[in-house]
């Protein structure tokens, strides 16, 4: 069984938000939900400063802290390492949201319009809301699942497909010859905040 993971090359990422939008379009997430996010970071002191984009998603940790705190068994780790939420088992306690140091989980009480001033839902929003209710839902914890449905069809996650800079590489971490394993080995891939001990499966190649 493969152990899926991702490498994000920060030298290539220029913070265009295509991954964020691709995730939104594919998963029809409500306005305040961003399974794929983009953070901006700074280094150095004025005038010698640098700015860097950091795409963030669920790290599908090997030792996920969200799994440890889930009281109902709704959070599960599949054999391929992907961490998912079974919406039919989630009671919406939000303990997993508090347990995730990467801020990857979201819960919304209700679907609110993308448009201001209480406008009725547009035709697209009605479609998206139905998709959301069928696949994730309000009141329960939700998160990125590496586009599991696309993987089952032999396709890549939407954020990987959408990356114009080819900064994202998806693959099997257990296969030493896979592109992702070679990249991590060759360019010394790092994980975010390794001191937390979650053993994330999303690696980053340092910017400069």
């Amino acid at each position: 069984m493969p152990q899926y993971g991702m490498v994000i090359d920060l030298k290539r990422c220029y913070g265009c938000y295509a991954c964020v939008m691709a995730c939104k379009v594919k998963n029809h997430t409500p306005p305040s939900v961003f399974w794929a996010r983009l953070l901006k970071g700074e280094r150095g002191k004025f005038p010698n400063t640098m700015r860097q984009a950091l795409p963030v998603l669920c790290m599908h940790c090997d030792e996920p802290s969200c799994l440890e705190v889930c009281p109902t068994g709704a959070t599960q780790q599949l054999d391929n390492g992907i961490v998912i939420v079974d919406k039919d088992k989630c009671m919406g306690c939000k303990a997993c949201i508090m347990a995730c140091p990467y801020g990857a989980r979201y819960s919304v009480e209700k679907w609110e319009s993308y448009f201001p001033d209480g406008l009725p839902l547009s035709e697209y929003e009605e479609f998206a809301k139905k998709h959301w209710d069928d696949n994730s839902g309000c009141g329960v914890a939700t998160k990125c699942d590496f586009c599991l449905d696309l993987l089952n069809e032999g396709k890549l996650p939407a954020c990987v497909e959408a990356c114009a800079a080819n900064a994202r590489t998806f693959g099997d971490l257990d296969d030493p010859d896979s592109e992702i394993s070679v990249l991590i080995r060759k360019y010394r891939g790092e994980v975010l905040n390794p001191e937390l001990g979650n053993k994330p499966k999303v690696y980053y190649l340092a910017p400069r």
């Binding site: 953070l39 970071g41 700074e42 860097q52 705190v69 303990a95 995730c100 140091p101 009141g139």
Partner: protein, 322 residues
């Protein structure tokens, strides 16, 4: 509509959870003090009765509020089916067993003629105290196991919550004694409980100082400490009005009102106890709303919330765009 940014405050746990944590603490604390007082005999009869009447109902109301706060309350029963998996699942059993023992103790104490010193009664009281302490600690452990909020990730949180639970439980009993007062007997019991209150309030002052100092030493939790120290509900509502003023009033009640009339004693006890209770709720609310996600680090970059122009005062740094 903004995406979540590391370094920003969590927004998923708020007032309802604070009320639940507060009522869990009040219930556990009031029961513990009532059960201990029951061993002291007839002289503490009123405080025992009131404490037992507070313990079970407070937990019951708190549990109802907690379930109502869930995103999917209908699935609540699933939490009790896997007691070994998580602290919430263990907490469901701890609170359930505490409610059973506190309810049994209340019924036997209030509605039967069983001797207060009977062996069975003592066994129930001891089991009740054990599960009451576990309930008080659990409210802190619930936060302490939240790896995503560095401010809460401290062994001091359960300690602080247990001490605060004893304080609020104590004050809830005092409030009940003022309301259901029995004249001179109440005054002598209030005087005794004022001494107990002084001890637990002093311990809570030390616990909160240790907690904040320990959190401030962690770089990721430092922002939360700075934020909580700027919160009026924490400094004024909790620390001054919820700890300081009750402490002074309890000292006055014990040492300066020995010759005072009944109404004056009841008035001071009422104000002190009410402020102490409100302070307990504000403490939990302040800790919840100042919990921030940790900063993410990569290659020397810090990825976190950056102060926006609207956060900065004009004249200091950036000026908001006109």
């Amino acid at each position: 509509m903004d995406p979540k940014v590391n370094g920003q405050l969590q927004k998923d746990w708020g007032l309802l959870l604070a009320i639940y944590l507060f009522l869990g603490g009040v219930g556990g604390g009031a029961y513990t003090i009532a059960a201990i007082n029951s061993f002291l005999g007839k002289s503490m009869e009123l405080s025992t009765t009131i404490g037992l009447w507070i313990g079970f109902p407070a937990l019951l109301i708190g549990s109802v509020i907690l379930i109502a706060d869930l995103g999917n309350p209908g699935k609540f029963i699933l939490a009790g089916l896997k007691p070994g998996t998580s602290w919430i699942a263990r907490g469901v059993w701890i609170i359930s067993l505490f409610m059973v023992f506190s309810f049994l103790h209340l019924v036997l104490h209030q509605f039967t003629e069983i001797s207060k010193t009977a062996t069975g009664m003592n066994v129930i009281a001891i089991l009740g105290i054990i599960f009451a302490i576990l309930t008080m600690a659990y409210t802190g452990i619930l936060l302490g196991t939240s790896k995503g909020i560095p401010f809460w990730r401290s062994g001091m949180v359960p300690v602080l919550f247990v001490v605060s639970a004893l304080v609020t439980g104590h004050f809830s009993i005092m409030l009940g004694m003022v309301i259901f007062n029995e004249g001179a007997a109440t005054v002598s019991q209030l005087s005794f409980m004022a001494v107990e209150a002084v001890v637990v309030v002093v311990v809570e002052v030390l616990a909160i100082l240790f907690f904040l100092q320990a959190a401030y030493r962690q770089p990721d939790a430092r922002e939360s400490v700075e934020r909580i120290m700027r919160k009026t509900i924490f400094i004024v509502g909790y620390f001054i009005m919820g700890l300081g003023v009750p402490l002074v009033l309890m000292l006055i009640l014990r040492y300066a009102m020995t010759e005072s009339g009944l109404s004056a004693v009841l008035g001071v006890a009422f104000i002190g106890a009410l402020l102490g209770l409100i302070g307990g709720l504000l403490l939990r609310l302040a800790i919840l709303i100042t919990g921030a996600l940790p900063t993410l680090n990569m290659a020397g970059f810090q990825f976190r919330r950056i102060a926006r122009p609207k956060d900065l005062k004009p004249g200091i740094g950036l000026t908001p765009p006109q």
